[in-house]
C-alpha cells in the first residue's frame, strides 16, 4: 500500500500544474459548500440568539388581520387600533403572566442643556419582566390607571450616559418632545437587538407615548405566559377574548415559535440552495478528474504495458489509477476544506457579529464526498487502463 502511494504520488508530482488545476475544481466545490454552510449555520445561530434576546414564551398581537406573512399595515393605523383597554382585558386570562402594550417613535430628549434624538418606547409597567430587560437602578412606574398615567421615564444606558454624564439622574427632570418627565429608573446596557439600539432609548408609559405621538392605538401588545402552558391554548384564549371584544378578528397574533419556524425553514432553503450550487461545482470537478484520468491513461499506455510485462495484474493497474484519482480528489477536498474554513474565519474577523460555525459532520461528509467523487470519476479510466492488451500497450507511443 505505501508503495502504491509512492507510485501514485510520483505521477501526481510530475504533472504538478495539471494535477493542481484538476484538484482545484474539487477544492472550489468543497470550499463553496463548507464556506456557505459555515455562514448559514452561523447565521441561523445568530438569528435564533437575537430572537430569544427578548425572552421566550412571548406572543405578539398586532392590529389588522394579515393573510400572509410579513409586516402588516395595521402598524400604520389604517385599521381598528389595539387599545390599552384590550391589553387590560388580556391580563385576566389564565396562564398569562404579563401583558405589555407597546409603541415607539422618535423624539428630542433634553436635559442639562443637552439635546439628543432617541427612540421613545411607550410600554407597560411590567415591561422589564415581560422581556428580559433588567433595570440597573430605580424601577419602572407602578401599575396605575392608564387615564392618569404620570410623566415618568426610565432611561436607556446610553441616554443616561450622554445626558447626565454618568451622574445619578434619578429624581431629575428632562423634556421629551417638550413635555416634562421625571426620571425614575435606568436600564442595564443591553446592546443592539435586531439592529435596534436598546440603550439609545427611553421608556415611558404607553398612554403617554400615544399622546406624545398622537396615535389612536398601540403598535403591538406582547403577552408573556407561563412556561408550562401550551402556546396553542394561550393563543386560542387570546383570540377568543379579543374577538369577543372587537366583534371580529381584526388583529394578528404572532407567536415566537411560528416566527422561528418560518425563519428556520427559510434558512433551510438557503442552505439547500447553497448545497446544490456546491454540488454542481463538485460535478464539474468530477468531470475534470474523469478528463484528466482519461488523458493519463492514454499518455501512459506504454507504461501500463510495461507494468503488465513486469508482472502487474489487471487489479493492480486498476488500483493504481483509482488511487491516483482518489488522491487528486481527496487533496482537492482537503484544500477546499481549509480554504472554506479559512475564508469563513477571515469573514468572522471583519464582521464579528456574524458568527461562523463549521459543523464537523459537514466537513467530514464533504471530504468523504470528495473522495467518492474521485472514485466514481476514476472508475471508467482505470478500468480501461486495466483492460488494455499488454502487447498493444507496450508498443503504443
Amino acid at each position: 500500500m505505501p508503495d502504491l502511494i509512492k507510485l501514485t504520488t510520483s505521477s501526481f508530482l510530475s504533472y504538478r500544474m495539471r494535477s493542481f488545476l484538476t484538484a482545484l475544481g474539487i477544492a472550489i466545490g468543497i470550499m463553496a459548500v463548507i464556506l456557505l454552510t459555515s455562514i448559514g449555520e452561523g447565521l441561523r445561530q445568530f438569528v435564533l440568539a437575537e430572537f430569544s434576546e427578548f425572552g421566550t414564551n412571548i406572543i405578539t398581537i398586532q392590529p389588522g388581520k394579515t393573510q400572509t406573512q410579513g409586516s402588516n399595515i395595521g402598524i400604520l393605523g389604517s385599521v381598528r387600533p389595539l387599545t390599552l383597554d384590550d391589553a387590560d382585558v388580556l391580563r385576566h386570562l389564565p396562564y398569562v403572566e404579563n401583558v405589555n402594550p407597546g409603541l415607539m417613535g422618535n423624539a428630542d430628549i433634553r436635559a442639562n442643556g443637552k439635546t439628543r434624538r432617541s427612540t421613545v418606547f411607550g410600554e407597560g409597567h411590567a415591561f422589564s419582566e415581560a422581556f428580559t430587560m433588567k433595570v440597573q437602578s430605580g424601577s419602572f412606574w407602578p401599575d396605575e390607571d392608564n387615564e392618569q398615567a404620570r410623566a415618568l421615564v426610565v432611561l436607556g444606558a446610553k441616554v443616561q450616559q450622554e445626558l447626565f454624564s454618568g451622574q445619578n439622574p434619578l429624581g431629575s427632570y428632562l423634556r421629551i418632545g417638550g413635555q416634562r418627565y421625571r426620571v425614575i429608573g435606568v436600564m442595564e446596557p443591553k446592546g443592539q437587538i435586531l439592529g435596534m439600539d436598546m440603550d439609545d432609548a427611553v421608556f415611558i408609559p404607553a398612554a403617554r407615548a400615544m399622546e406624545l405621538f398622537n396615535r389612536p392605538g398601540l403598535m403591538e401588545i406582547n403577552v408573556s405566559y407561563r412556561a408550562s402552558a401550551d402556546e396553542k391554548v394561550v393563543i386560542r384564549m387570546i383570540t377568543d377574548r379579543l374577538k369577543e371584544k372587537h366583534g371580529s378578528e381584526d388583529f394578528t397574533i404572532i407567536s415566537q415559535e411560528q416566527a422561528l419556524e418560518v425563519l428556520s425553514s427559510v434558512l433551510d432553503v438557503i442552505t439547500f440552495a447553497v448545497g446544490a450550487l456546491g454540488g454542481i461545482s463538485l460535478l464539474v470537478g468530477a468531470v475534470g478528474i474523469l478528463t484528466i484520468m482519461t488523458m493519463a491513461v492514454t499518455e501512459r499506455t506504454s507504461e501500463i504495458g510495461l507494468l503488465r510485462a513486469l508482472g502487474a495484474q489487471q487489479r493492480q493497474i486498476l488500483t493504481l489509477f483509482l488511487g491516483e484519482a482518489m488522491l487528486l480528489s481527496s487533496l482537492g477536498g482537503f484544500a477546499g476544506l481549509a480554504m472554506g474554513v479559512g475564508i469563513a474565519q477571515v469573514l468572522h474577523l471583519f464582521a464579528p457579529s456574524l458568527p461562523v460555525h463549521t459543523p464537523w459532520l459537514f466537513a467530514l461528509l464533504a471530504e468523504l464526498s470528495a473522495i467518492s467523487i474521485g472514485l466514481v470519476a476514476g472508475v471508467t479510466p482505470a478500468m480501461r487502463a486495466a483492460r488494455l492488451d499488454p502487447v498493444e500497450a507496450l508498443h503504443a507511443e
Binding site: 510530475s14 507504461e303 510485462a309 508482472g311 487489479r315 502487447v391
Partner: protein
Amino acid sequence: MIELAKVSRIFDVGDQQVAALRDIDLSIAKGDYVSIMGPSGSGKSTLLNMIGLLDRPSSGTYLLGGGNVTDLNDQQQAKVRSEMIGFVFQAFHLVPRLTASMNIELPLILAGIAVEERKSRVEELLKNYGLSDRADHRPDQLSGGQRQRVAIARATCMHPAVLLADEPTGNLDQATGKEVMNLLEELVAQQVALIVVTHDPAIGGRAHRQLHMVDGQIISESAKGVAA
C-alpha cells in the same frame, strides 16, 4: 524449460485473418542462448510475446517450466510473468518519473516483496551493473547504455528463468550494444534461458542457437559459427 507444440497465432485484421505464427514447434532448455532473426512481420516479436505470456496461442500448447501455461487467465499469467520471465526492450521502457533504483524496484513492488529484501536486492543489482552512483538519477539523466543496464537490472531482479530481449541494442551505438550483449550473455552462464529477437546478424550471430523466421514459421536453425 520452454516447450511450444504446434503453436499458431492468428490475428483478425479487418475481415481478413492473418497468421503471425504457424504451427511453431520449439524447445528451449535452461541456459540456452537463442536468437530469433528474420525480416519485420515475420512473427519474431509475436513469438517473443507468446513465450513471455503477454499473448495467448490461437491453437497449440505451451509448456513452461513443466507446467501447461496455454490457457492461464490474466491473473495467473501475470504471476508467471512476475516469477519466471524478464523483459528487456529496444526502447528501454523505463518509467521517466522514477529514479533508476525505483525503476529496478518496480517488479519487486508488484510482486509484493518486503521492503528490506527489496532494498538489498536493488542495491546489489545497482552495484553489479555499475550504477551505484546513478541510483537517484532519472532516466533522462542517464546515457543509453546506462538506461539499458537499468532495464536489465530490472529484468533480473526477480531472478527469472527466462530473459526475453526484443532488439536490446536497437537504440544503442555499436560499442554500447556490445557491452549490453556481454551483460546479457553473463546471465546465460547463470542458467538463464536468454532469447534475443533481432534483425542484426552481428548480434544474432552471437547466440548458440540461431532461429530464422519467415512468414510466421521457423525456416531454419543454425548453431553458432555455422552459416545459415
